[in-house]
Symmetry: C2
Subunit: 283 residues, 2 copies
């Protein structure tokens, strides 16, 4: 059994990215710039935003957070997004989710210019993933793909089972695995006998938010297990996999924390550099 060490991998990729960013800065006169739009003061959101700011610092990206009050209207938030779309010095930006209930998330996400949509959450970005075209991929599934690639895991012909079908993780994850020629099964809350499917899997990616959903009896010997879950239990962060009991059956497994989490942030930074390069090269 080998650990898919997301923290170490993210740092290695970021080190390479930092060198690239230095060269790009020399060529184009400035560093790539990422804005995070943060509405309200949800503690989990604040902690994610802090991690993103640190990743910017590590890679030489200029990161900036726009903090807006919880009471902002949808229209005023749309104005902020329009300004960021039009600001030529901003290469990419994301709107931290969740948003307050009086604001429609889809309206906001679809207002983000597809050239700057580094979180890949607009309809146009989703369409590009769906139709297998180049575009920005949501950070978590992109981070998982980067991690698998780093460990030289070849997906072609594998049976991949994705548990969860959200727009942010499960659905694009399934499509990215399919685009790498895996045979893909998508399971969810209405799947009868989840274990029937997971037991067949060469690789399982689970993103449900259900603690201990995947137990040892549900995993084939030698399978790869990727745990996207981040759950807080008795003050500890755990995933969706019963890690201690499952790990010995696997060939590769991600720990939580230190697995997919750091890769997600790294993927966002990589998307930002791609947005910057696409802009500079088309000038």
């Amino acid at each position: 059994m080998q650990i898919l060490d997301g923290k170490k991998t993210a740092r290695e990729l970021e080190k390479k990215l930092k060198e690239k960013v230095l060269l790009l800065k020399e060529t184009y006169g400035r560093a790539p710039k990422l804005y995070v739009v943060l509405v309200g003061d949800n503690p989990a959101s604040l902690s994610y935003v802090k991690s993103k700011e640190k990743a910017c610092l590590r890679t030489g990206i200029e990161g900036k957070t726009i903090k807006l009050p919880n009471t902002i209207s949808e229209n005023d938030l749309l104005k902020v997004i329009k300004d960021l779309n039009n600001d030529d010095t901003v290469d990419g930006f994301i709107v931290q989710l969740p948003l307050p209930k009086h604001i429609d998330e889809n309206t906001i996400l679809n207002a983000v210019s597809s050239f700057k949509d580094v979180d890949g959450l607009s309809l146009l970005s989703a369409g590009k993933v769906m139709n297998r075209q180049d575009g920005f991929t949501p950070a978590t599934p992109k981070g998982v793909m980067m991690l698998l690639e780093h460990y030289n895991i070849k997906l072609k012909g594998m049976h991949a089972v994705v548990v969860g079908r959200s727009n942010i993780v499960g659905s694009p994850m399934a499509k990215l695995l399919l685009n790498k020629d895996a045979t893909v099964t998508i399971c969810h809350r209405y799947t009868t006998e989840l274990g029937f499917y997971t037991k067949q899997a060469d690789i399982i990616v689970v993103a449900t938010g259900v603690v201990n959903l995947i137990t040892a009896d549900m995993v084939k010997k030698g399978a790869i297990v990727v745990d996207v879950g981040i759950n807080r239990v008795d003050g500890k962060i755990v995933g969706d996999v019963d890690y201690e009991n499952v790990k010995e059956k696997t060939s590769f497994i991600t720990p939580v924390p230190g697995g997919v989490g750091p890769m997600t942030i790294s993927a966002l930074i990589h998307n930002t550099v791609e947005a910057y390069m696409a802009k500079m090269e088309n000038k």
Copy 2:
């Protein structure tokens, strides 16, 4: 075993639609209008376009075909599309595929206004399918869903196996089945042991263009089999399923011809009426 009779179902749905169109015409003063843009004179395309024109006649939709020479430039074709986007009397239009090789299909498909994209082939329409939002769904998978609904087949909790992953059929098909709460497996040319998966399926949808790909030993007793394939063999139209040997094992099966084909055209007409209604109601 029961035949999923696409021809009969399409006619029944079209009869209801015709009544609806009559009422809409009374309310809004004109019939819905569908344009088909046909480039060149590919015989298969000509035959499809003729079927579409007939379906318009059957349902009281105003159908019109714009025939363009094979030599038209991409720019000139884009101009035609822009005019159709701006023409307020056109409710929906489609560009018949395939296009000549000197024209980029994606550029053309993405130029179609998302309000008129009744073939559902633009990136924005694909994004809406991907993210489970209302929008135009490609006609073939939509037609399959209409057929299953007509026969009152409940997909929730079923294991659906889709063979083929094209942008036009397989990929949106898988997403629509998933959105109806089936557990979905997507197989393709790099799937090892296709039969391993199809044998598990409560419902198989096959869209590959490979004659006799699905044989009786690959189908579970009582399964539902939907054959999207249209292949010409010795002057006869056949699907991707070894129909004669498979049918006895199934609970429901689509014939070829007379199965998915007529439903595809019906779905396009239904999309056109939806486009018209959305426009009229927002006026």
